[in-house]
Every structure is written in C-alpha cells, then in structure tokens.
Symmetry: C2
Subunit: 375 residues, 2 copies
C-alpha cells in the first residue's frame, strides 16, 4: 500500500505509448481498458473472473455509490476494494456525468449541482469538494476531478462557458484532494469539438498540475471522425509523462484509433452492457446471439478466445440461453466481451512494443470487414 | 459410458440409507439433492460451480426443453450433457407436472395430454411414448415415467382415477424405454394422501419393474405432517434394493425428515429460486438479505460455509447487491444456497454412516430455533 503513484512510458510507436501506472493497489499496464463496476459490481461477473479477462483496474461510479449504499457506509465497511472484493486498483468518476444524465431536478451553479436521486427523489448536492471527499471515502486509487460534461451539440459560447466552469472546479478538486502515497487525481479536459477550447482547457489543467489527464465530453454523439480530430488537436497539449484517459470510450475501433493517437486508458459500459443484451464482440465482428441463424451452430463464439463461453459452449447453446432470458447468458457473454477487450489491449501493448501497431490496425479492419460480409 | 445402472446400499440407520447410484455419466452418493436445471442451465450458475457445491446430478425439464430448444435439436447437438457442459449424471422429469402447471388449453385423455405452449401458443402432445423418446433424445441418465400429478386436494375417487391412469402410463413408459447400459427409468407412485391408493400404486409399479421408484404428488399443499405420513405409509411398500426419489422436495427440514424415512434422492427449485429473491439458507435459519438490518453487517452470511458468498463478502455487501437488483446477488446467493444443500446432504450421509442421524436432526432443529429467535 506504500507504492508511489507513478507512470512510466517504456516504448512509443508514433503517438502510441506502452506504459505502466503504479498505484496503492497495484500496477496497470497501459494502454488499459477499465471495466465499469457502477454499483460496486461489474455486472454479472465475480471479481476474480473480471481479473481473469486481463483487467487490472475497474471503474466505480461516485453518483451511484453515494446514493446506495452511501460513501460513508462504504468507508465504515473498509472501503470499496474490500466491500466488493476487488483488491486491484479502482478509478472512480466524479459523479458529474451521471448527475446530468440520471438525476432529476438538477440545479447547477458556481458551487456545484443540487439534484434529486433517481432512486427515491431524495435531495443531494455534489460540489467539487464533496465529490473528492466521496472518492476518498470509497478509497479510489485514481480520483477524477469534478466537472461538467459539456452537452452535444453545443455552440462555442456554451462550450466555453461550460469548460471554464469545469476548470474552476478542477482547481477546487485539486485543492480538496488529500495527498496519500499511491493515490492520484486526474484532471479532465473539456471544450466540446473546438480545438482552441480544448487547448485552453489542457493548458489550464497543466497549470494546476494533475497526476493524469482525461479527455472528457467525447463519445456523446459527435461521431468517430470528429472524436479522432479532437484527440489529434488535444493530446499533443497534454504532458507526455502523465497517463491520458479517454472517458467513456468505446467500440474496439474507437480504442484502436485512440491508442494510435496517444491515449493510455479507457472505460466503457459497452462490453458489459452488450453482454446483457445478447451482443458479442468477436475477431470477425459483432454477433447478435438472439439471431435464429445460431440455433444449430455447434461452433464456438470465437475460436481464438480462451474464455469459458468460447471454450465450453456452442453458439447454439448461447443462442438458447439468450432466447430464454437466462442469467447465464449475461454471465457468459459479459465474460467473453471483457476477455475480448482484455485480449485487444494485450495485443495493442504487444504491437506497440514490437513496432507492429500499423499491422494490427490493418488486420483488425480486414477481419471485421470479412466478418461483416459473412454475417 | 459403459457402467451398468446400479444402486448399492452401504449402511442403514433406521429407515435411512447411505448408498450410491451408478449411471453412464458417473456415480451419485445418496441421499442426494439434485439442483434443478430447467432450461438447460441451473439458473445463475456455471456448471463447474454447481459441481463445487457437492451436487453430483442435476434435473432437467422435459416440458421446457421440448419447447425450447427442442429435443431433436439437443440430440443433434450431442445431447444435454454436452449442450450445457455438464458431464455428470442428469435426471429428466417426464413433462407431466409442467404440462399441468404451465401449459394452456390442456386436454387429457387415455393417450396422453394435448396442450399449447405457454411460450408461443404452438400445439403439442405428450404421451408416455413421446415423453420417453424426448428423455432419450436428451440423453438423460435417469428417465422418469410419464404420469399425471394428482391435484390437491382430491377426493379418493379422483385420486384413484388419476393414479390408475398413471399406472397404465407407467407400463407404457416402461415398454417405450430403450435399455442402454448405465441408463435407467424410474416409476412414480401416486395416490394422493390415501394410504391404500399409495400402496396399490407401489405394487403396480413393482409388478412392472423399474430401476428406481419416485414418490410424486407431494409438496403440493398438503403440509409437512401429511407428507411424512404418506411417506411412512408408502416407503415400506417400495423395493429395498432400488433408489427412492421424493419429487419436488423441499425445505431442509422436509429433506431431513424424508431421509429419516428412507428417501434417497430429492429435487427442488427452492435453493435456486430463493437465491434469486434474496433468500439465504443458513445454519441459523433463513435470512432475507433485503432486510435493512443487514446494511451495516460486516459478518459473513454463514460463518461455517465455504462458498464464495460467505468467504469473500459481507452481509452488508450482499444486502447492497439485493437492493440494487444486481445479477451478482442471484449468482452469489444461488451458489450459497446450493452449497448449503450440498453440505446438508453430506452431513446426512456422514450421520447415517456414523449412526448419529438422531443427533443431526436434534441439533438442526435447535440451531434453526435459536436463529429464528435471533432473527
């Protein structure tokens, strides 16, 4: 528990980096994907199964956990790692995004956001100081600054006002953060799709000084091309010696493109949520297991995957479970999807190390195109 | 796959027996509890996790599997063991019970039962011959005769008519059964709560000759006292050298009482269904994990249990999962409940072997009474 919070870069391949982030609860090889454990559980998975997919860090949600079971309760029960039996690193978001997307009767002012719980209507307020305190109570290895996720689309004036508010909150977040060995806090770049605002935001965060830098406000409807353009304009403005985290991203192709642009960390509900709706990511594209064409298919979901869904079961069986709405369908497909993401990140790290990232990108798109044609 | 279907009794303690049933897919130590795997999955459990609870055999449902994915399809996919990745023995029910409880527009006559699927309204007919054929297609180690589960309450005339129909169907089931090494068929005693009918039924089945004998039509609302009375009147009429199976039973106290009366095999949805509704069986009684008194309780669900739910998590965490409706709640509580049942059967077998069954019964009821007072 005494490791310093540290980030090392071992290799670069163009903008892409192979690195390692060290925290109080262990190290994370980057580029890394963080499965989402919203309410203190990566849905439909035991923690040891999550780890078996290659995940070395998970994300917890401040908004959900503050409402249920409550941050002070988690602290009294020994912190989130102990509560949910996940002894590896945890990153928590700040609650800002969920407050705006889930809570009712939101009132935002300079101090923070007042809102009512989507669960029981109870009144709450999140400020930068309270968000940081909650993340401390949860014992997050990586704390995120409290920000406002700029809505999309937004005019340059709206994006500017939102970004500058987030930068004032970033300073308050940084000041509220309690320094402890092995724990760090990341700032979040905002600014919508506007290069100037993004660069202003990056500069403001660098001036404050954070242990890592996230790019927020993307994957909100702007499309992959625009997202990559914003990354091209933003990432060079971030410190080279700190981890870079692209929040809420994404599809495999999004991750591959963002790694090539210098992003080190990702989180997304896609592999877990898809696993609960019969969607599977495979090396030949995405499959809908509810589709009747799988009913008699004895082949595995993905012949190159070593997860239990692929080793022990046929597509026909997975189809049957999905049609019946069986919990085991969610369990097996979530496991598979997280393993797919884990394997993808492992392959990306190996490709950066061996200087073959361009080959990986080309063969990924070839295989997906062939699979799409076959499906 | 070449073992003969055989039953040995090693020890007796009063009416209770310690034995072993050998089948094509392995042996079952008796008294045994069979987790229910209705639609080709023990809900919320991986098969290897089911096995880890001590279960050596599971039950599959003819009615559900004939409708979805279809018996012929399961056969083409290599049988139910391969389809669901459960290589140990499987017993299938005959479909008679579910047709009467789930299907729509049932028409019963001497030939069998015509009905419409509760899933899509499609028309089907189950006869003794088709039920046995389906169980053959599923590759069940233990096939059950097709019967009519007599409704409760029933007059002696109703129970008699129903029982004699089931006995005619039992003969047709026996004749339709395809003999294979390691595979067996059980007859089912009916007769409601009427001792004379039960004994007539047992005699009729013995005259036909089965590999095992089930007691059906109990746990349908008659109460534990009546059920035990029927067992006292029925079990002595069954062959001593064949396994005895009490269908659809039951609570731990039901199982303990039935083992003491000479029953060797049980199945029930209680541990699995309870696991999906926040109910946990423990050595000090049954707990509802949704109850707010667990919210801050750092103690394990059952300190004497070695399952993951008890080893790795607090009651507070399980309470949180149940309140949030998380799939992991169903996964952990189902695992725990099956482990509780597995441990109970193991304790019953040890007590029969060591001649301490009366002590086990007394200490079980003491602990449950103390727990009930504490809860």
């Amino acid at each position: 528990m005494s490791a310093n919070f540290a980030f090392e870069v071992f290799h670069c391949a163009g903008a892409a980096r192979l690195g390692r982030l060290t925290t109080a609860h262990g190290a994370i090889d980057t580029p890394a994907f963080m499965p989402v454990g919203t309410a203190g559980t990566v849905k439909a998975m035991l923690p040891e199964s999550v780890a078996s997919t290659g995940a070395q860090i998970i994300l917890g949600n401040t908004y959900h956990l503050m409402l249920r079971p409550g941050a002070e309760r988690v602290a009294e029960l020994g912190g989130l790692h102990r509560f949910m039996n996940w002894q590896a690193p945890i990153l928590t978001d700040s609650g800002g995004y969920q407050v705006m997307s889930l809570a009712a009767l939101r009132e935002i002012d300079e101090t923070g956001v007042a809102f009512r719980s989507h669960l029981d209507g109870s009144r709450h307020k999140l400020t930068p100081e309270r968000s940081i305190e909650i993340q401390d109570l949860l014992d997050a290895d990586v704390t995120m600054a409290f920000d406002e996720c700029t809505s999309f689309p937004a005019t340059v004036e709206q994006a500017s006002q939102s970004m500058t508010l987030s930068m004032r909150w970033a300073l308050r977040s940084r000041q509220a953060f309690r320094a402890r060995p092995g724990y760090g806090i990341f700032g979040i770049v905002q600014g919508g799709v506007f290069a100037g605002l993004r660069q202003d935001s990056a500069r403001a965060l660098r001036d404050i000084g954070f242990d890592g830098y996230a790019v927020g406000g993307l994957a909100v409807g702007e499309g992959q091309e625009t997202m990559f353009k914003v990354l091209d304009e933003t990432v060079p403005a971030l410190p080279a010696d700190r981890p870079r985290y692209l929040m809420g991203v994404g599809k495999p192709a999004d991750i591959i493109g963002a790694v090539a642009r210098g992003i080190d960390m990702f989180d997304c509900v896609l592999p877990t949520r898809s696993g609960r709706t019969a969607q599977a990511f495979t090396r030949s594209g995405t499959l809908n297991l509810r589709n009747a064409r799988h009913a008699d298919d004895m082949s595995p979901l993905d012949a190159e995957c070593a997860c239990p869904a692929c080793k022990d079961y046929s597509r026909a069986y997975l189809h049957h479970l999905c049609r019946c709405g069986e919990i085991l369908a969610s369990m097996l497909l979530t496991w598979h999807n997280l393993r797919y993401y884990g394997d993808l990140m492992r392959a990306l790290r190996a490709a950066i190390a061996s200087g073959t990232l361009a080959d990986l990108v080309a063969s990924f798109h070839d295989a997906q195109a062939r699979g799409g044609a076959a499906a």
